[in-house]
């Protein structure tokens, strides 16, 4: 009897084992698949940054070369536009983070008449199609007779980055225990010391998240910038423009470099966090 059952069990096992393996690993497989889907375009960009194309378009693999990497600014105007984009991104981040943090504190801490309305208005730029905001900002600048250029781009970028900073910081401030600040005051901290020593450090992760988002959004924005730039050319506009006439390999070089810097930032952040946890 026992023998009989064992044989039957082994007979059924092969399909079972495959199924069981699949069941155990399905989450990993799905995860790796999604990751591949996300990373593949970046890999293509990276690989083609080592290409030496025939002609002006970098769409077909010809042969390996490091020419573009050794001479990243070899294309006319490209590095200028890259510098401009970085400069705008930095100032937009600073402006949006400072203003956004203050707005977030006001919304989270105080009850005032237009609080609900302000909250909705802040959220609007995130929900609104970008092209609508781009066009309306352009109309506004035009009617006010403001010269398009660096400043109009910066103002536009701060405008749309604000919403993201406010959302990130507000969530953090809302979840903060108000008793922590009372405890600080109870322990001889003046209001200024309380803010610097307790409130700000606890809100810092939210502020940092908002700032990082702002930088990323500002750096690669095309639609709003295109409407409000006048004759100024940022990096995304340069890429768009050159795509009409041919794509220099250097664009892939810059793209790859940005990707690697971002990965490095995440990696450094992770290890620093892990080290701190281990130490404590």
């Amino acid at each position: 009897m026992a023998v009989h059952e064992t044989t039957r069990a082994t007979a059924v096992r092969p399909p079972n084992r495959a199924l069981r393996w699949l069941r155990r690993h399905i989450v990993t497989i799905a995860g790796l698949g999604t990751l591949g889907y996300l990373i593949l375009p970046n890999l293509v960009v990276m690989v083609f940054s080592f290409n030496k194309p025939n002609g002006r378009f970098n769409y077909q693999w010809t042969r390996f070369s490091t020419d573009a990497w050794t001479d990243p600014c070899g294309v006319a105007d490209m590095c200028g536009s890259l510098g401009l984009s970085l400069e705008i991104a930095v100032w937009a981040t600073v402006g949006a983070t400072v203003l956004g943090t203050m707005i977030a504190f006001a919304l989270a801490r105080y009850r005032f008449r237009a609080r609900g309305g302000v909250g909705t208005l802040i959220f609007l730029p995130m929900a609104m199609p970008e092209v609508v905001m781009a066009a309306s900002l352009a109309t506004l600048f035009l009617n006010m007779g403001i010269q398009f250029g660096f400043w109009t781009i910066l103002i536009a970028h701060i405008t749309f980055c604000l919403s993201f900073v406010v959302t990130a910081v507000k969530a953090r401030v809302m979840s903060m225990d108000p008793r922590l600040e009372q405890a600080a005051q109870d322990l001889y901290a003046t209001p200024v010391q309380t803010f610097l020593r307790v409130t700000l450090p606890i809100a810092a992760p939210g502020i940092a998240a908002g700032a990082l988002l702002s930088f990323a959004l500002s750096f690669d924005d095309f639609i709003i910038t295109n409407f409000n730039a006048g004759s100024t050319v940022t990096f995304p506009m340069f890429v768009w423009g050159s795509a009409q006439r041919g794509t220099p390999v250097q664009i892939n070089v810059i793209g790859t470099a940005m990707f690697l810097v971002a990965v490095l930032c995440v990696f450094v952040g992770r290890t620093a966090g892990k080290k701190r946890r281990q130490r404590s």
Binding site: D177, L180, D186, Y188, A189, T190, R197, V198, I202
Partner: protein
């Protein structure tokens, strides 16, 4: 635990004069006068929403009183912000700074006052609360009891004149709470600082404090030593909130001498005249009270053997629950309602089972009487909720 015992006092006294707090139309604290003597362990006891925490926060400076003044060691501090008062608070749920480690949490107050070399003091304080090895951990890596001790250390290191404790043991489980009660009491005796402790747990207040103020509805109902409050409650709220009381509707039959004679239903009850907090003349209505553990049970057949001069009430056992050290009976007394009796399990009479006819008896000296003009159940259900 007694008043006469004065620990070496480095604390200051707290004097509240006519202090009150209203929010819009809601009065959290009615005008209140309170004096906390220097070096004492003082408890503000009451159910949630009775104004005890608001009172504490007004002493800390975290809440501005609507009227009245706060004095610390004879100095009026009513208008001073919290960071200018020599007072520290142990908050409910501790409010430890999550971004700082234990060491920096404890050093926070010293650093804000510009003290540079904090190492020795912080280490001593961490030793006092037995947390030396945890100095570099973050608050969220500690257990509830450890966090509680950090909160105490963080406040005590500043040598405040008064330490305020806002339900500091509320988040701990029962066993740990008992342990921390003794621990806090030990620390208080050791440092001699005035402690003002807010709690809803009557047992906690009685175990720890020299003086307890029972608060209800924004007012102090009664103030005194724990034993005094327990034995001589002045109101039905105090009688019911501190432990359990049997309150019986009665009428004064004879007054004037050392003893009062009352009639409750068909029975006569006697009590010392000084234990009646209401004005009692012949014919007045009062509430006679006796604690369940002061009452004894005798089977109806044995009633004749009882000593003379004891207060007696006949009844029938409705329910008996055995809880180890004692047995708790609910006795139905015709015409007077249900009374509770706690009997120690020393000599158990097998006839004392539900349904048995019995006689309740107790020493008249253990009887107290209250003004009948108040809610007989005040504070009774609150106590159950709090426990």
């Amino acid at each position: 635990m007694t008043h006469t015992e004065t620990p070496r006092s480095s604390g200051g006294d707290v004097r509240l004069r006519g202090i009150s707090k209203t929010y819009g139309s809601f009065t959290a604290v009615h005008p209140l006068d309170l004096t906390v003597p220097a070096g004492s362990f003082f408890a503000l006891l009451g159910a949630s929403g009775c104004g005890k925490t608001t009172t504490l926060r007004m002493i800390a400076g975290l809440e501005e009183p609507t009227t009245g003044t706060v004095e610390l060691s004879g100095r009026d501090v009513t208008v001073l912000p919290p960071y200018k008062r020599q007072v520290n608070t142990v908050f409910q749920n501790y409010a430890l700074f999550p971004h700082l480690d234990i060491y920096e949490n404890v050093a926070f107050g010293l650093r804000r006052r510009g003290i540079k070399s904090v190492k020795k003091q912080v280490e001593e304080m961490l030793d006092l609360v037995q947390l030396g090895p945890m100095a570099r951990r973050r608050p969220q890596q500690l257990s509830g009891g450890q966090q509680q001790r950090v909160a105490v250390a963080r406040a005590l290191i500043n040598h405040p004149e008064v330490l305020l404790l806002d339900e500091p043991l509320g988040a701990l489980d029962l066993k740990l709470r008992r342990q921390m009660q003794l621990e806090l009491k030990r620390i208080q005796t050791e440092v001699g600082i005035t402690f003002v402790h807010v709690t809803h747990d009557q047992e906690e207040a009685m175990t720890m404090a020299d003086t307890v103020a029972v608060m209800n509805g924004g007012r102090v109902e009664q103030l005194g030593a724990p034993a005094e409050l327990y034995e001589n409650p002045a109101t039905t709220f105090v009688a019911n909130f501190l432990g359990t009381s049997n309150l019986i509707q009665a009428e004064v039959v004879e007054a004037g001498g050392e003893e009062l004679l009352l009639r409750a239903g068909d029975a006569k009850l006697r009590l010392p005249a000084r234990r009646c907090s209401a004005p009692a003349r012949s014919g007045d209505k009062v509430l006679a009270g006796v604690r369940p553990e002061k009452v004894s049970l005798a089977h109806a057949d044995a009633a004749g053997t009882l000593a003379e001069g004891r207060n007696r009430l006949p009844g029938r056992i409705k329910d008996a629950s055995f809880i180890g050290v004692s047995t708790q009976y609910v006795v139905d007394v015709p015409g007077l309602g249900e009374l509770a009796v706690y009997e120690q399990n020393i000599e158990r009479d097998g006839r004392l089972v539900p349904g048995a006819e019995i006689v309740l008896h107790w020493n008249p000296a253990h009887t107290f009487a209250l003004d009948a003009d108040q809610d007989i159940d005040a504070g009774a259900d609150l106590d159950e909720e709090a426990a």
